[in-house]
Subunit: 332 residues, 2 copies
């Protein structure tokens, strides 16, 4: 189905991956849906009140960062050396303003640091200690690196290291380490969070944040903080936030490619988004998905994995959240 | 004029900017042209011998990094805190493989580190100490940070700081600090180096390397190391290397946009390259230029500044180098 109204709308994601082989109770699934629904309702209220899309996606991703269920902010996965390196990006469709940080370890909410970078109007991407210093100067909250530690993520690192693999370098059939039950397999999930929105003024925005991949090499940066790879917004075309095997999304310029297919080929959003996710990314090893909204309020949430934590909400309608591929939803 | 042969071809650039107001002697101009010509001849010989494009662009950029006239490798500009932070990216058109490093301080040739990242086949982008450690493990030469120090770049930093500006935040009319005579104004030049090539096997490749901007904030990363922003190669379309105001090239996905205009709109290379440089980048503040070659051997080297250090060479023809806008050249 397709939506061609300009009713404000928010869509969010919390990562894509394969189904968990653990026995998942209805309560465990419900915890993920409830987290998504709560954030959707909050964003919906902001949109109903006339908030700009850039504020709505920033706040939605901040809330996703604060939720330990998702791999961003608190709850982020561990690098190979047992630390956290966080990346985030935000982009405003009205003027293509963007801000991003990568490889930060002491900023409680990387998305707020990315926003501060954007607002300053100078550099678009700051990395490492330079990014942390800038964000602190802008008033972003700093925390000790240990603030991001969570027992279930540390257990994931140890399980991954015991089997000598990183999250990308897996073979689903050989996974045998225990983990916390979750609807999507935490050992084979591409953990990123993101939000896209169309506001009442007709403006688009996108935001993406991630803790990267469990057991990743220190210094590795994926698509999440990169304009056009994991995050893109342009009022003339679309707002997109991606989740998946970052390297493929970078090489394929996944987020901008959706925009280019809309702008240059004239594809409707659903076809542009599906072409990128189903046709163009898989040959590059690009397992994952994306969420997208266009200036007319069409929403697409395609993914080529077994599931993606996702949801969307239009002003005046009940929020919808979903995890598995066989669940109803727009444009999947 | 247009070329539609598949004769192997190399194109290189050494940055774009405004004309120097200093009195430039014929000898001083000749030094820049001689440096470009020497690198072109070397690349031409490699191409004539059947070398893959990826090897040719890597080697051409390594030589540009080694030349202190250009802002990459030795000869790189200084950050606001008096250090060097180097970025580089390489991409192979046959399989869209890519590798990049950002914010490295101890690698003699960042482009070789980027190549090592690409060859390893895992992460595409490594930053900071993690990138340095990986490159060292791969056998890339490390140097003390002081190795990149050059007196003329330090003088540029001091002049810039005395006038409290960064290279991007300038007003040409108010520049009055002395600098080393060069054909393009070193206080208003976007220092990047790059190479694109089509080899005898029909494959494309691109490479870009930079020292960033004089007096830049520590941690700032521009377009150079980002796939699709400052560097892109795809055998089906084009190979592109950019130089200019990095933030605009990132927000505009300049390199990939040339490819998208060729692939999706069907524009000939020269029109696609000009549309990006002359129409799409300026509204974003995107002063600079790019070099591009397509799979049929067409070459384009458009820039929207007063000059760009550039050159190209086909196998079997004399290399051509140029600096100013009024000089002859293909597809400008």
């Amino acid at each position: 189905m397709s939506f061609s109204t300009t009713t404000p709308v928010i869509a969010i994601h919390g990562g894509a991956g394969t189904l968990s082989r653990a026995s998942i109770s209805a309560e465990q699934q419900a915890a993920y849906r409830a987290a998504l629904d709560e954030i959707l309702r909050s964003a919906q209220a902001m949109l109903a009140g006339g908030a700009p899309a850039i504020d709505v996606v920033t706040e939605a991703v901040r809330q996703l960062e604060e939720c330990p269920l998702f791999n961003a902010g608190r709850g982020a996965v561990y690098t190979a050396d047992g630390r956290h390196e966080l990346d985030a990006c935000v982009m405003r469709g009205s003027d293509l303003a963007a801000g991003a940080v990568a490889g930060v370890r002491t900023l409680r909410n990387p998305i707020l640091a990315a926003r501060a970078v954007m607002e300053a109007g100078g550099p678009v991407l700051l990395i490492g200690p330079g990014a942390e210093q800038f964000a602190a100067e802008c008033g972003c909250e700093t925390v000790a690196p240990e603030w991001f530690d969570t027992p279930h993520r540390l257990a994931q690192l140890h399980a991954m290291q015991a089997s000598d693999r990183i999250a990308l370098d897996h073979d689903a059939a050989s996974h045998d380490a225990p983990t916390v039950p979750a609807p999507l397999d935490e050992r084979d999930k591409f953990g990123t969070v993101g939000a896209v929105a169309l506001d009442a003024h007709g403006h688009l925005a996108a935001a993406t944040s991630t803790g990267g991949m469990t057991n990743k090499r220190p210094g590795r940066v994926g698509d999440s903080p990169l304009v056009g790879a994991g995050c893109y917004a342009n009022d003339r075309t679309v707002a997109v936030s991606c989740t998946g095997v970052g390297e493929a999304f970078m090489r394929g310029l996944a987020a901008y490619d959706v925009s280019a297919l809309v702008e240059y080929v004239g594809l409707p959003l659903r076809f542009a988004a599906r072409r990128v996710v189903m046709d163009k990314l898989p040959p590059l090893g690009g397992r994952g998905g994306l969420i997208a909204v266009d200036a007319r309020g069409n929403v697409a949430l395609p993914f080529n994995t077994e599931g993606m934590y996702r949801g969307w909400a239009r002003v005046g309608e009940a929020p919808v959240s979903a995890i598995y591929a066989d669940e109803a939803g727009p444009e999947q």
